[in-house]
């Protein structure tokens, strides 16, 4: 008996030490290694087309110039930017991800069911997935990752409760591989919330430093984090999605857009994201040594109109004239050099919300705008060049800040409106001042750039025009719009939701409720000699993917 006990003890000790030595049974974490096998997620046609140009040795490295957001931190519980960094650098993945139409695609989850009330969701966790440290991704690991997020959430500012309520009851069954999430209120589509980078799944059992070295399931893992300089990510040899093209990628923080362009031209960078200086971008586009991909993102550049009682823009005729006086096409293509795609709805035209079916009754026509104002009695009675409305000079207070060309739009709008007798008092401050004016209501036009479908759904963004939402910064009131907005909260069918959202857009267009500049285009610039397959995604959350490969 004693011998048997000793044998069992020895066996346990051996197993334990093996476990300690190898972590979860894998070789040392994050070691750069040869690619693990044939591509799983890579689009086959695309793969064949590029096979000849591709270096498949898996030994190559590349240098990527990026903007430093929030010190490059990587802890999704701490700040939204950190969650985005984590996803953008190819470190962590969510249960789902967004495709270029912002539809969800199963990622670490390979199937799910939901009850009729949309309060109980059962997610099946994909088998065979491992974290970069070799530990298996199980339902329990996902549960632990969410538990840590909820525990750390209140200390950070990424507000995970926005995506999944703290009250949600999460249970894991490792035998079936199912994760059950029961919520106290119905979620229209929880999969979209779980695709948001804040909900990235990390190995909480072994991650010691979430902000600098989180352990995820993505194609790359952080091997060297240098504060203020950048970080190195190396191939995750256990990546479940197939071939990881680079042995390592050097990410370098860069603050200046022109410097990014010069670093590409000098050969110091192979890849850069978002060169936002128009002349530099055009130069790179004209250079045959570089490939510039530009894509409509999910951001709309617009100026919210303050339609609250007593404000000038509570007058619908004036709003209509404002819209008709603005040449959006020229502003987008010339003033901001193509960094925006013009459009007239508050939701980007590339998203699946029926943009093509919308009609714009206030297309650019400055003569018609002036006629409209004259007929409405909004005329210049004292001959000072500015029209008057109810005895008050029509001078609009336009607040904005210099971000993503917003101030360029504001200046162009100021000029165009002055040509029809509408004055603009332009205030270009910082983002905080711009936001403060939302709160105080001290604006007529408020220029900003919003992510419209952060979680693949525009409900939160559309709340800005719903008088009962608590986020109505525009003083707008339309009963039909409010009714449709409230309907959205209880409509689970995707087609029905799409129809409601399309109708809501048309109401806003008809009511001339916002000055839409256009839809912000993101860019990715790669050096043809060294890089293939680099493209910017619609969702701003994915930069480094296995689609980027070394040119042979």
């Amino acid at each position: 008996m004693k011998k048997a006990k000793r044998r069992i003890a020895l066996l346990l000790a051996a197993l334990l030490s093996a476990g300690v030595m190898t972590g979860c049974g894998g070789s040392p974490a994050n070691a750069p290694a040869a690619p693990s096998g044939p591509g799983g997620r890579e689009d086959e046609v695309n793969q064949q087309a590029h096979e000849a140009d591709r270096d498949t040795s898996g030994t190559r490295t590349m240098t990527f110039g990026i903007q430093n957001y929030s010190g490059g931190g990587l802890d999704p519980a701490r700040e939204i930017n950190c969650a985005w960094n984590n996803s953008r650098y190819g470190i962590g993945e969510c249960l789902f991800k967004f495709d270029n139409e912002m539809n969800v695609v199963e990622t670490l989850c390979d199937g799910y069911t939901v009850n009729e009330e949309h309060t109980e969701w059962v997610f099946h966790i994909r088998e065979g997935v491992k974290f970069s440290d070799g530990c298996a991704l199980t339902a329990s690991a996902v549960e632990a990752s969410f538990a840590r997020l909820f525990e750390a959430g209140p200390q950070g500012s990424s507000a995970p409760q926005n995506y999944l309520e703290y009250e949600a009851e999460i249970t894991a069954d490792d035998v079936s591989g199912n994760l059950t999430v029961k919520t106290t209120r119905p979620y229209v589509d929880l999969t979209k919330n779980l695709a948001y980078p804040v909900m990235i799944i990390l190995d909480v059992e072994h991650t010691a430093d979430y902000n600098h070295a989180p352990i995820g399931t993505g194609p790359y893992a952080v091997t060297n984090f240098r504060e203020g300089v950048g970080c190195t990510v190396s191939a995750n040899e256990r990546y479940w999605g197939g071939n990881v093209p680079y042995a390592s990628i050097e990410l370098l923080y860069m603050g200046d857009a022109s410097a990014k362009a010069m670093a590409l031209q000098s050969g110091q960078l192979d890849l850069a994201e978002n060169v936002t200086n128009i002349s530099d971008l055009q130069k790179l586009q004209a250079d045959p040594n570089f490939t510039v991909t530009i894509a409509n993102g999910v951001r709309t550049g617009l100026a919210h109109m303050n339609m609250a009682e007593g404000r000038l823009l509570s007058n619908k005729t004036l709003r209509q004239a404002v819209l008709m006086a603005l040449d959006d096409d020229t502003m987008c293509s010339v003033t901001v050099g193509g960094l925006y795609t013009s459009g007239f709805s508050v939701l980007p035209s590339n998203l699946d919300y029926g943009y093509d079916k919308l009609t714009d009754p206030y297309a650019f026509d400055p003569d018609a705008a002036m006629k409209l104002l004259d007929e409405a009695g909004i005329v210049d009675t004292n001959g000072d060049g500015a029209r008057e409305l109810d005895g008050k000079e029509v001078v609009l207070h336009y607040v904005t800040y210099p971000n993503r060309c917003l101030s360029d739009f504001a200046e162009a709008i100021q000029q165009q409106l002055s040509s029809i007798g509408i004055g603009v008092n332009l205030e270009i401050g910082d983002s905080a001042r711009q936001w403060d004016s939302y709160q105080s209501g001290d604006f007529d036009l408020n220029g900003s750039n919003w992510t419209t479908v952060g979680t693949g759904d525009p409900t939160e963004y559309l709340a800005a025009w719903c008088s009962t939402s608590g986020s109505d910064y525009c003083g707008y009131k339309n009963d039909e719009y409010d009714k449709l907005f409230n309907e959205l909260a209880v409509t689970f069918d995707n087609d029905a939701r799409r129809d409601i959202i399309q109708r809501m857009q048309q109401i806003l267009i008809d009511d001339a409720a916002a000055v839409v500049h256009g839809y912000y285009n993101s860019s990715m610039i790669s050096k043809n000699e060294t890089i293939g397959g680099a493209a910017i995604h619609t969702a701003d959350y994915y930069w480094i993917t296995t689609e980027i490969y070394p040119a042979a």
């Binding site: 985005w84 000098s266 110091q268 905080a432 936001w435």
Partner: protein, 315 residues
Amino acid sequence: MTAKQLGKRLLQIAVVAAGITFLTFLITYLAPGDPVRTMYATAGIMPGEEIIQQTREAMGLNRPVLAQYFDWLQNCLRGDLGVSYAYNEPVSALLLDRLWPTLKLALFSMVLMLLAAVPVGMAQATHQNRALDYALRSLTFFGISMPNFWVGMLLMLFFCVRLQLLPVVCSAGDFKSLLLPAVTLAFAMSAKYARQVRAAILEELRQDYVTGARARGVAEWKVLWWNVFPNALLPLITLLGLSLGSLLGGAAVVEVIFSYPGLGSLAVSAITAYDYPLIQGYVLWISLIYMLVNLAVDVSYAYIDPRIREKRRGG
């Protein structure tokens, strides 16, 4: 400087530093803007007021300003400068991380500046109102007028893009990475200092001891370098102290352009993000370093100028 005088100066430094940090704290809080809203705006998100308030609460921003300041001061006296909102790292660690690169850049650019400014200023003084003086004067005007970022961009275009000799991203920490930011900084500084050197040398050249030395047949170069130059150093040292103090606070624009990881770019990111603890830590650092460098300059006078030394001895 006696020990008593030194103690008095150090006490003054502590009081001034405390005053500066209080004013900064007050101004930062009174200024329009909010770190929470800025953070969400960066991500293009417009959360409801409830989330904003929850986040403010979590960050301790809903407490009275004075309570926040005294807490900060108390922790500061214990060596804890708080944790950066943007980096989620202790402020002291972030400042220390950036200290060495900043120090390297400051010292190297000072050396380059002196290597350029002293000979140019000397040449101007010894060729006063002649062709060389006029030519060099135009050059120094040009140097002073050119903004740093523009010089940096031109150097980058030439040395990095055209010749491909030096890196655009200067964050590697090696000598090559130091070169362009240092030359950029030294460019404008040397133009300014060359004019100062010229003026100081001309002032000394008019002194009787120079006439005496020349009358004794001392070689002109000896007069210039052995007699005139050391005496002209005194006013220059004060200026050097001011420049070094400001360089040790980081050179924001140049650091951003060259992606150089110094204190200047850290300060820019702190201000952009309304990162109050980091702004406070940075201001404390820059005020201390400024005052300490100037104290060192004052102390050095006694060693450089024997007249001051003798006067202090009561002679």
